[in-house]
Each structure stands twice: as C-alpha cells, then as structure tokens.
C-alpha cells in the first residue's frame, strides 16, 4: 500500500514564519513527521495482515509539477491516497486537474471553509479542521462561560478577514455578539496609534472578551495583559482553538506525542501533524478492516459509518458525507494548557455531537 505525500517547496505559509530575530514563537512546522508516526504503526499492522505500507513524498516547485508528479505516481506506482500539505488554491487546482484519476487527497493543513463549500471536490477528504469548526469550538466555550460580547481586533491579511468571517457565522449560530471590529496595523508610525496601541484599541467600548485575528503572529502575542479592560483574550492569541496541542494529556495523547518526538525534529506536534497522522491512520484502518488495498474498496470504507477513527481526543472520528470533512473534537488551548475540549457537553445534536462543530448537512454549500 503505497501512499503519496505532496508539498510545495515554496509554500508561503512556512516562509520565515514564526521566527523573529531567530527566536521561534509558533509551532508551524511542516507536518510530514506526523504522517511518519502513523506510518510506523501502519507497518506494524501491515506485517500481520500481509500488506507493506510505504509513503512517497513529492516536493514540487509549481502546481504543474505537482500534477505531473502525482499523475506519474498514480499511473506507474499504484499510489491512490495522497496526503496534501498545500494551500487552498494549490489543493483546489490539483484536485480539479486529477479529478478523473483514481486518486484521493487528504487535506492536512488548509482550514479554508471554501474547500468544504463552493470549492469542494469529490476527491478530497479533510482531516484538518475547517475555520468554521475552529470558530464554533471557541464560540461554544465563550457562550458556555457567558462571555457574549466580543471585541474583534483584525489584522490586514486576507486570512484574518476569513477568520473573522468564520467568527461572525459562529457568533450568529450560538448567540454571541461582536460589539465592534477594529482593524490593527503592523507599524510603529505614531500617526497610526489608534490602530497600533493595544490600550487605545481596546478602550471606549464594553466587552466580555477580546478576539484577535492575527495570522502574522506579530501582534496578537502582545494583546493579553495589555487590554484597556481586564478581559480575557482569545482567537489567534490567548485561548486558541486548535486541532492539536502538545499539552493535551488525555485519551492516549501523551503516548502519541512521545512517539512523535522520537521521530521528529526538535519540535512538538502541531495541528497539521495531527491531521497528517490521522489521514494515514484512516487509510490504515480501511485497509485493515476491508483486508484490501483496492482503491474502490478502501475509498468506500472511508466514507462508511464503519470508520471509527481514533482522534486521540475522545470521540471517534468519521467523514461527513456532505463535504468530506473529518468529524473530530477541537481543543481550546493556551500556550501550555488545554482549557477545554469542544464540543462542550451542553451542546447537543440529533445524530452526532461532533456535528455541532462546523457546517452541518442542511447548511452545506458543497455539491459534488
């Protein structure tokens, strides 16, 4: 069973990210090692069921090159399941161009809601949580706490606007209120102090909590303890919704973390690592349970309700039929503690509580 793995050599999401003056502040490393931890486990299973698991990694310089490489692997190498560590646009393009080939992609790092909606593709499964799932998780917590009035500080990047859009949808869904959205700038120019000074930005308005949308990572870190009112900070700083946190210590998370650290560079496991790990785990379970490496058999199993994927976060995971998003809990984490696991117990659902996170069947804009 040969799996594929693709990434762009020049992926802007990883370019000098998280490092300032040589000090690393974020855990945004490439998630390849996460897949390798699951591959080790797959090999152990493979020895018993007589299947040899392996993975072929492709690093491409362009979208065209990606298509060529995957196409070749599908044709000559029998690769049918490919982990994709790609930005949304590149993944959308790749999936569209290989739509008539026997290949399934696992989106392991793009949270864009568009990939699960208008741009959804029949040959893509998402093990990484969507923006909608992440913001629903956070809003569930805020509403449960009674922190309903939210002041939003929004950065200039398109990703920041997307995060705020997801937050607005979640706030409507669960009954929270965005009192004001204030854009911030990354500059020291004193003429812009209304958009750079955190005390000024958080003054003159009443709120229960400050939400920061800062994909740059340069602003949000300084917001906690700097606000005009003594209020908690959430979003990309303070309490953040995430697919994974190294400090999660329940549901066998510690054992997974330690297996990760054995094979990884000196870095702790992050959300995309978890999604990569989970993708390999899904294929492994499908091969093990169907006793087949046949594309259609494995694919059918992945979409069936027989899949009970270990999310290492409590609830077993499975894929939503309407947009191919993996159902999985979301962690709400500070720098060194998981404060809560969503869905919170007070949110119920008619079929699966995990579907309180993200876009449910009646709301989906995805048409395969």
């Amino acid at each position: 069973m040969k799996l594929g793995y693709v990434e762009l050599a020049d992926d802007s999401r990883y370019a000098d990210r998280g490092a300032h003056s040589g000090i690393v502040f974020t855990d945004l490393g490439r998630p390849y090692q996460g897949s390798q931890v699951a591959l080790e486990d797959a090999r152990a299973i493979g020895r018993v069921i007589g299947v040899e698991f392996s993975m072929e990694k492709s690093t491409a310089a362009s979208g065209d090159e990606l298509v060529q490489q995957i196409s070749d692997r599908v044709t000559s190498g029998g690769v049918h399941f490919v982990l994709a560590d790609l930005p949304a646009a590149a993944l959308k393009d790749l999936a569209r161009r290989l739509a008539d080939r026997p290949v399934m992609f696992f989106n392991i790092s793009a949270s864009d809601d568009s990939l699960r909606a208008a741009d959804c593709a029949n040959n893509v499964l998402h093990t990484y949580p969507s923006e909608a799932m992440l913001s629903d998780a956070l809003i569930q917590y805020l509403v449960a706490k009674g922190w309903l009035q939210i002041l939003v500080l929004r950065g200039p990047a398109p990703e920041d606007a997307a995060t705020v859009a997801a937050l607005q949808r979640s706030a409507r869904k669960f009954g929270a209120n965005i009192v004001e959205t204030r854009p911030f700038l990354l500059t020291n120019d004193p003429r812009n102090r209304e958009q750079t000074n955190i005390v000024l930005m958080t003054g003159g308005v009443r709120y229960d909590v400050v939400y920061v949308a800062d994909s740059s990572g340069e602003f949000g870190r300084y917001v906690p303890y700097e606000t005009s009112l003594p209020r908690p900070v959430v979003g990309t700083a303070g309490l953040a919704p995430t697919a994974w946190s190294w400090s999660w210590d329940r549901d066998a998370a510690v054992q997974l973390q330690h297996r990760y650290e054995k094979v990884s560079p000196p870095r702790r496991m992050n959300g995309a690592d978890w999604a990569a790990w989970e993708a390999v785990k899904a294929v492994t379970q499908a091969v093990m349970r169907t006793r087949s490496t046949d594309f259609d058999a494995v694919r059918t199993f992945l979409f069936s309700d027989k899949l009970t994927l270990d999310t290492v976060k409590g609830n077993p995971g499975s894929f939503r039929a309407w947009d191919h998003q993996l159902r999985a809990p979301v962690l709400l984490s500070t720098a060194d503690a998981v404060i809560e696991r969503a869905p919170l117990p007070q949110y119920l659902h008619q079929t699966n509580v995990l579907d309180t996170l993200g876009i449910d069947a009646p709301e989906t804009a995805c048409r395969f």
Binding site: D41, A44, Q255, Q285, T308, N352, V353
Partner: protein
C-alpha cells in the same frame, strides 16, 4: 491466634510497626486499594469503617495496574512515569521495594509459578518478562504500539497482549517468548478477560465500543458484544475494565465515558443491567463475598460502591486524582 493479632496491628499501626511479611497476613480485611495516576498514591479504603480511607500510600509516579503476590502479603503497583513496579508490603502498607521495568509500565501479570512478571510497556511497544528474584529483564517481546491489556492462560503457557494502536491481540508463547499469532479485534483494544471455562477470551475495545469474544481454540473473534446504556450514544460507549464473578456466570464491563457498568450473562452474552456510576468508569473489582462492586471513575476522582444484589450504586467515595485500578484484599 496469629491472624487475630495481625488484625489488631492494622488498627494500631503506631504500636506495631515492623512485622515479618510472610506470616503477617491480615485475613478478611476486605481492604480496597485504588491507584491514583495523578496524585501518585494508592488509597487504602476499609469498607468496615464506613469506607474510610485509612491510608494513602505514596508511590512512584503514575501508579496504575496492581496485583497481589505471595499470598496477598505483597502488592505490586506499575508506576508508568518512573518505569518501575513498586512493591508494597501489605502488612505495613508501605512501599518496601522497587522493580525496574521498561518505559511506561501499564498493565502486568505474574507468571503461574510466581517467579516472573510480564509487563506491557505502553511507550516501549513491548512486553518484558522480568525475573522477580534478581530483578532482571529476562526477555523482551516486541508488540504493536501501546500494548496494554495482558492475560495469562491457566497453564501459564500462553500470554495475550492487546495493542491499542494496531487494533490486535498478540498471542505469545510464554516459554519460547515469541508472538505466535495476531488476532484483529475492534478499535483500540484495552483489556482482557479470560473466562473460567478457558475457551473464551474477552477483549474490551474502547473506540468501537464493543467487547470482542475470541475463541481460543482458533484464535479468532467469534462474536462481538454491543452496549448502549439508556440516554447514551454509541460514541460515548468506551469499554475498558472488566471482571467477573468467581462462578464465571456474570461479567462486569466498565463503559468509560458512558458512565455505566454493564452486567453481562456470560452464557447468553446478554447485558442484564446497566448501573450508573461516576465519570469515565474504568477499573472494576468485586469484594470477596461478591456482594459489592467497586468502580474507579477516572474523571470524577471517586470510587462508586455498587450493591450487586440490587444492581445500584449506593454511594461514592472520593479518592485521589484520576483513579485507575481497584484491587480488593480478601
């Protein structure tokens, strides 16, 4: 007479502090031992004193599975974060010795001759055979990742070990020290229960929420048992700990996040009763007279006392943080 004198000793620990262990058994104490993963201790509860905790025994870090040895004079406790098995002197209720193990020991069994331990090392992906007398790791048997539940056949010749990550039970020839077969079971297999007739091995599968029944003659799953206590969904059902009555007629399965234990008729394999207990019920043990069931609840930090006759939880006793296993002295 000797027995009576020792029983007195437990009530007057300050007076009699040193007792030679082999003959020092206090009969019929019915003490309940609960290992607490996060407070690094074993709570000793005396049911005869209204379930009072008569002693907190400090242990090495992260105590989990427990077994008695040498006619209940010693209590072994696997301590996962310090890679040791603590040896508790049951007479003094103190840790008297340590046996080093591989990384993160979780569950273990004693060989039938009592000379060796078989320990599953959760983070070492192996089972180690450790000689007790000289504390030497005699053999290491590779398993799938996160080995946990371990059982030994009545003749001591066969070991069974679950691997949580690879969804299988390894069958190990204990004499040769090799894996002779692998049985694919449900998702995330945790614990094992060998039925008295020797024909069946039950496996609790935490994530698929079932118990797989293995036919030992052919080493294959012959049937699976499903659970669904009232008011819960399949995804909440995460069975882990299991025990059974001495006549082998009833098995008890702790259902984890479904906060219930199930009483199962082993002959018909039907669930007779679901009993509501605490949060994330894992460890289970019966009192010697089998009138009482003790259930360790990992997320509510308490022990549920279940009256077996009426099949109702009659009270809850707070213990340490994250109680893992329960063991009852006779």
């Amino acid at each position: 007479m000797k027995t009576r004198a020792r029983a007195v000793h437990f009530g007057c620990a300050l007076v009699l502090t040193v007792v030679s262990s082999a003959e020092a058994r206090a009969k019929d104490t019915g003490y309940v031992f609960v290992s607490d993963e996060k407070t690094n201790n074993v709570a000793v509860i005396d049911p005869k004193q209204d379930y009072k905790i008569i002693k907190w025994i400090p242990t090495s870090h992260r105590p989990r599975d427990m077994k008695f040895r040498d006619n209940h004079t010693l209590l072994y406790v696997a301590c996962g974060d310090d890679d040791v098995i603590d040896v508790i002197d049951v007479a003094t209720l103190e840790v008297a010795d340590h046996i080093p193990t591989g990384p993160s020991p979780e569950m273990f069994e004693l060989s039938r001759d009592g000379k060796a331990l078989y320990v599953s090392n959760e983070e070492g992906s192996s089972v180690q055979e450790i000689g007790i007398a000289d504390k030497i790791i005699m053999r290491e048997i590779a398993t799938g990742a996160e080995p946990e539940g371990i059982a030994i056949s009545a003749d001591g010749k066969t070991l069974y070990v679950t691997s949580e990550v690879t969804d299988m039970v390894h069958v190990v020839d204990a004499e040769a020290g090799v894996v002779t077969d692998n049985i694919v079971v449900g998702t995330r297999p945790r614990r094992l229960l060998l039925l008295h007739d020797g024909k069946e091995l039950w496996v609790s599968n935490e994530l698929s929420g079932q118990v797989s029944v293995i036919d030992r003659a052919v080493n294959r799953v012959s049937t699976t048992l499903d659970f669904l206590p009232p008011g819960f969904r399949q995804a909440d059902v995460t069975p882990v700990g299991m025990t059974m009555t001495s006549d082998g007629k009833s098995a008890i399965v702790a259902l984890g996040r479904a906060n219930h234990v199930a009483f199962v008729d082993t002959a018909t394999r039907k669930v007779e009763t679901y009993v509501l207990v605490g949060s994330r019920a894992w460890g289970v043990a019966l009192s010697p007279d089998e009138k009482t069931l003790y259930v360790a609840n990992g997320l509510s930090d308490d022990l549920s006392i279940v009256d077996v006759g009426s099949r109702k939880a009659v009270r809850s006793v707070p213990v340490g943080r994250v109680p893992h296993s329960v063991l009852v002295d006779d």
